[in-house]
Amino acid sequence: MGRLGGALMSEFEPKIVAFVCNWCTYAGADLTGTSRIKYASNVKIVRFPCTGRIDFMLLLKAFAEGADGIIVSGCHPNDCHYTSGNFHARRRWVIFRGLLNFMGIDVNRIQFSWVSAAEGAKWADVVNGTVTTIRELGPYTEYRKAADYLVQQDKSIIDGQEALIKSVSSL
């Protein structure tokens, strides 16, 4: 049973979204590519001009749409292409993370990092590390349950509606 459980867990391939800035982490991930460093293919990168641009709502949307984990990454402090976008982003994430944690949303599923354009190897580590973490945490069905509108509706009403539709269409 334990072995079976373990085997099942290892089959879980987490879906991970990465929100990154164009100038540091996106370029860093490009460097991972040009250096041919391999990493897990679970992550898909969304490019933003700056971490300052990343709306916290997009993180919530990613969870709602099925992400099991999220990476948010940009330039190291003092390295921002726009001088201070990452400082603003840092404050935003401090507050957002605090609020999510207070509401019981699993902040361990969001990996925040600074990856510079020179840190191709670090990018691979961040992705692989996040994949490992999320694999241990399992799929984020807990949050998606809240997203499933139909499941929350009264089953009898839906059944009733379906019955009605059937009866109408059979006419």
């Binding site: 879906k15 991972t32 300052g52």
Partner: protein, 666 residues
């Protein structure tokens, strides 16, 4: 209805070795709104681009996704190709299948699946793309150069010689800066004034340069190509139109005991003065704080002796505004004074000098006419000690950086001393000798080997006075920290180069950033050394960090080249990837509520207030407006705006939302 074309590149085998490109194209073809999808060996090649162009024309595509390498590599290429086929270039997006997929994953099913997802994300994004047009900003072809030292002089002359107008603002009564104070310059020992003064004269006489001395920048508004500078012309109390510079006033001024700034306090000047004989302009100003008439209400000797009636006591400060297209900051640096060093006598020993003071002693135009004499008693010092790194490279004193020029000028000082005092003995205490630069190392070796300067590697712990001598107590670390004690007649401290007082205030006026030491910050330490983070404002010389003359001149020419480049067009073309505050029909006008939180979020001060007025001219609403000349497109404001009234073109809320929503849908 969208008609998107998807073009999957094999990149030779770079992508196709691990990603099934045919399948990606086939799957893309089934995506909602995709009109045409294909794959090709080299999409960036001429036939590849032709393939895209033909598809745009034949299929009437409304958007293009190229699945190939990183957009950081070829986005401009494909956007240009689209534009050539008549599609707005900003309706083309790239999906990064190479750097972010094929090169980093193994060849398997998941890798191809990921490639399909990556394409889908960009297909959904591009559906929300809007055609954009490059932003055109008019340019006022006139540069403001702040600071009239060698950096400002070089930049101004380069710009003026390229046929552009220059306004130079110098806060002192004469241009020339620190370079005019120097005796000889390393590594050639040519006389500083001999090479500088012709350039100062050239500035004054250049038809394209308007020179304002004794003036400061009061205010700077606007943005690249379109600045408005307010300049304060400090009251000189002398009408320069009438003054001939005869010097009668300065000779007769009864107040003769004011320490001369030019001579670093080693000589005296009068209250009405020209800083030095070769000053440009060679006309005096009245130093009101030290003038008997201004302080006590009577004297007016200068007025009496002036043959042209040029003295005008009640001239106030004047303000002028100038339209400017670009700014070059060349405000230079300063050095720490000796009173910064308690261990070297808090500045109370008359013969413990700064390097800059020693320059004045060694200078033929200096207070001793170039003879090295002690300020205290006028005697020629027979034993002299130079202390390098006085303050520099000392985190405990708050100056952790290397001031860069001191190793070289200390070697020069020792050499000049040996040349002038043949029987003298000179010692240099140093931490390391940093002589990187053409002929620099050779210069230091000459000081040591040819001129017999004694170099001692070690720090000086203390200096105290004893029987008319200065006892310099240090250690020689190359001899196992053996204590060294020298009875010196004079000590010269190579005090650290620091930012000018007022640099911070000036930076804030111009909205440029500065570092922890109040030196102005370049936009990028490697690739944008003469730009600031504010477009249209450039930097040169020691206001950015201490540097020597050749480096300063090189940087000044670099900044000038940037200005000349900017002025080579009548309009400035900028990427339209900037933030925009929405506007809508009355009575709403804009969903912006005018809380102006975005103003503090913007790193570029690009957000302005716009008053929306009714027909009668009354203000209905005050809302935010993004200045397209200043916005750099970071989008920080967009993520802040609670009511989403501000959005960024190219990475809009709709685009990013669509991209994220596409990401997970199976």
């Amino acid at each position: 209805m969208s008609k998107i074309g998807v073009f999957i590149c094999h990149c030779g085998e770079n992508i196709s070795a691990t990603v099934d490109c045919e399948r990606v194209a086939a799957e893309a073809g089934k995506m909602d709104g995709v009109e045409f999808a294909t794959d090709y060996k080299y999409m960036c090649s001429d036939p590849g681009q032709t393939l895209i162009k033909n598809a745009i024309k034949e299929k009437g595509l409304t958007g293009v996704v190229v699945g190939a390498c990183s957009p950081r590599m070829h986005e401009p290429t494909f956007r240009k190709a689209c534009a050539e086929a008549g599609l707005n270039p900003y309706l083309c997006e790239m999906s990064n299948l190479r750097e972010h997929c094929s090169w980093v994953h193994e060849k398997n099913e998941q890798t191809t699946e990921k490639a399909i997802d990556l394409v889908k994300m960009l297909v959904e994004k591009v559906k929300k793309n809007k055609p954009l047009n490059a932003i055109k900003v008019p340019i006022t072809k006139k540069a403001l150069v702040i600071g009239g030292g060698i950096a400002g002089i070089q930049a101004a002359l380069d710009i003026a010689n390229a046929g552009q107008q220059v306004i130079m603002v110098e806060k002192e009564p004469s241009i020339g800066g620190h370079m005019s104070q120097l005796s000889e310059t390393f590594p050639t020992l040519d006389c500083s004034q001999c090479i500088l003064t012709p350039r100062m004269v050239e500035v004054a006489q250049h038809p394209n340069i308007t020179l304002y001395t004794y003036a400061e920048l009061e205010h700077l508004d606007g943005f690249i190509g379109n600045f408005k500078a307010t300049i304060r012309l400090k009251a000189k109390s002398v009408d320069y139109k009438l003054c001939t510079g005869c010097g009668a006033c300065t000779t007769k001024c009864p107040n003769k005991k004011i320490p001369s700034e030019f001579n670093e306090g080693l000589g005296m000047r009068t209250a009405i003065y020209t800083p030095f004989p070769q000053a440009v302009p060679n006309k005096p100003v009245i130093d009101r704080a030290n003038c008997t008439y201004y302080q006590k209400g009577k004297c007016k000797v200068c007025e009496k002796v002036c043959p042209t009636g040029a003295i005008q006591y009640d001239l106030p400060d004047q303000f002028i505004t100038e339209d400017i297209g670009a700014v070059v900051i060349a405000t230079g640096f300063n050095v720490l004074k000796t009173d910064f060093f308690p261990e070297y006598g808090y500045g109370k020993y008359a013969d413990v000098l700064t390097g800059l003071q020693f320059e004045r002693l060694a200078s033929a135009s200096g207070p001793t006419l170039g003879e090295i004499r002690r300020p205290s008693d006028g005697k020629v010092p027979k034993k002299i000690v130079f202390i390098a790194c006085s303050g520099s490279r000392d985190p405990a004193k708050g100056i952790p950086y290397c001031s860069k020029i001191c190793c070289m000028y200390t070697a020069k000082h020792a050499m000049l001393y040996q040349h002038k005092v043949h029987d003298g003995e000179s010692y240099v205490f140093y931490m390391d000798i940093r002589a990187g630069g053409k002929n620099y190392e050779e210069f230091v070796r000459r000081a040591i080997e040819d001129d017999g300067v004694n170099y001692i590697r070690g720090r000086v712990a203390r200096i105290y006075e004893k029987d008319g001598k200065y006892i310099v107590k240090g250690a020689d670390t190359l001899l196992g920290s053996k204590p060294v004690e020298i009875e010196a007649d004079m000590v010269v401290l190579a005090t650290a180069g620091v930012s000018n007082p007022g640099a911070e205030e000036l930076a804030q006026k111009m909205h440029v950033s500065y570092d922890a030491y109040k030196f102005f910050a370049e936009a990028h330490p490697k690739l944008k050394p003469v730009e600031t983070n504010t477009a249209g404002i450039f930097l040169c010389g020691a206001c950015q960090a201490p540097k020597d003359i050749p480096e300063t001149v090189g940087m000044a020419s670099g900044a000038a080249a940037k200005v000349i480049g900017l002025f080579s067009n009548n309009e400035l073309t900028r990427e339209p990837l900037i933030a925009v505050v929405n506007r809508s029909a009355p009575p709403v006008f804009s969903t912006c509520v005018g809380c102006f939180m975005c103003q503090t979020a913007c790193p570029y001060n690009a957000i302005e207030r716009e008053e929306i007025k009714g027909r009668d001219g009354s203000v209905i609403k005050t809302v935010a407006k993004v200045n397209p000349g200043l916005c750099q497109g970071c989008g920080t404001c967009v993520a802040f705006c609670r009511s989403k009234a501000i959005d960024i073109q190219g990475f809009s809320n709709e685009q990013m939302f669509a991209e994220v929503m596409a990401l997970m849908n199976e």
